[in-house]
């Protein structure tokens, strides 16, 4: 049986509610795409049904053949495609097909990171304890996607309508959860 990186933390993270709703969404399909050719990027977007983000530090989302898919900007020629679990092999083949002979790569990196959804009235305050990026809606609107350090751990942070999606390396996930539980302490209701 496969155990998710934060399986042992479910109860401790649930105890942070209602200030903070933390949910792990494990085993998401994740593919790192390296390509700079604009035509190939457009072809890959068509294949997924989601246009690749053109603006740095943003992500795009949409629904296509593979259900809800998100494409995250990681660099000027680097993207991360995320989708529901167990689709990585199919998506990899489809993206490779769209890439054709153009110089680039599609690599399955699903095991590299686990996904944590952070919601609740104190989500932004808790993140500010360890992350220097300004997450106020005025400077980080919905659709923002930044790679940064959260308490010295490298994360990818997506800004959604109702909270944040954080991709953290599986080997750092328990440290991340422990830091989160500690940082949220001051927002917990006194019993």
């Amino acid at each position: 049986m496969t155990v998710s990186p934060l399986a042992a933390w479910t109860d401790r993270l649930a105890a942070l509610a209602p200030a903070l709703d933390v949910t792990e969404v494990p085993f998401r399909s994740q593919l790192t795409v390296r390509v700079s050719d604009p035509d190939a990027i457009a072809a890959m977007g068509d294949a997924l049904g989601v246009r690749f983000p053109a603006v740095p530090c943003t992500f795009s989302a949409g629904t296509g053949e593979f259900g809800a898919v998100e494409v995250l900007w990681l660099g000027p020629d680097e993207f991360l495609v995320t989708a529901s679990p167990d689709l990585q092999v199919t998506i990899e083949e489809v993206l490779r097909g769209a890439l054709q002979d153009v110089r680039g790569s599609v690599v399955d990196t699903s095991a590299q990171r686990t996904t944590v959804v952070l919601q609740g009235p104190r989500a932004r305050d808790v993140l500010a304890h360890g992350c220097s990026v300004d997450l106020h809606p005025a400077s980080a609107p919905r659709g923002t996607c930044v790679q940064t350090l959260l308490a010295r751990t490298g994360i990818v942070l997506q800004v959604n309508d109702d909270g944040y999606t954080i991709l953290v390396r599986s080997s750092f996930a328990e440290y991340f959860a422990a830091w989160l539980a500690d940082a949220a302490t001051e927002y917990l209701a006194v019993p």
């Binding site: 530090c57 990681l74 660099g75 680097e78 220097s132 930044v146 790679q147 940064t148």
Partner: protein
């Protein structure tokens, strides 16, 4: 903590970056033709100005791209940042 403006990601904390030494040090066209002294000059000798200095930085915890920056070594002010391949902009210290 000082903020460094990454040409791709915008201002970020200094801790996200790695320093890469002097910029615009061209690899010798014909390394095998160099004398030991010339090779040592290329490998080890760098400028050490008091004032504006063009240097390489990597946004290692972010987009992981290398870029160039002109930094005033007296004040640690970043006078300009520019992407790899772009010419060094004019700066006034």
């Amino acid at each position: 903590m000082q903020l460094i403006p990454c040409p791709w990601c915008g201002p970020r904390e200094e801790a996200e970056f790695h320093y890469g030494g002097q910029a615009h040090v061209a690899y010798p066209e014909d390394p095998s033709a160099l004398s030991d002294e010339e090779w040592a000059q290329y490998v080890f000798f760098r400028e050490n100005p008091s004032g504006p200095f063009a240097e390489r930085w990597s946004h290692s915890a972010g987009c992981r791209r290398w870029f160039n920056a002109v930094r005033d070594t007296r004040t640690h002010d970043l006078l300009a940042v520019y992407r790899v391949g772009e010419p060094m902009p004019e700066v006034t210290a």
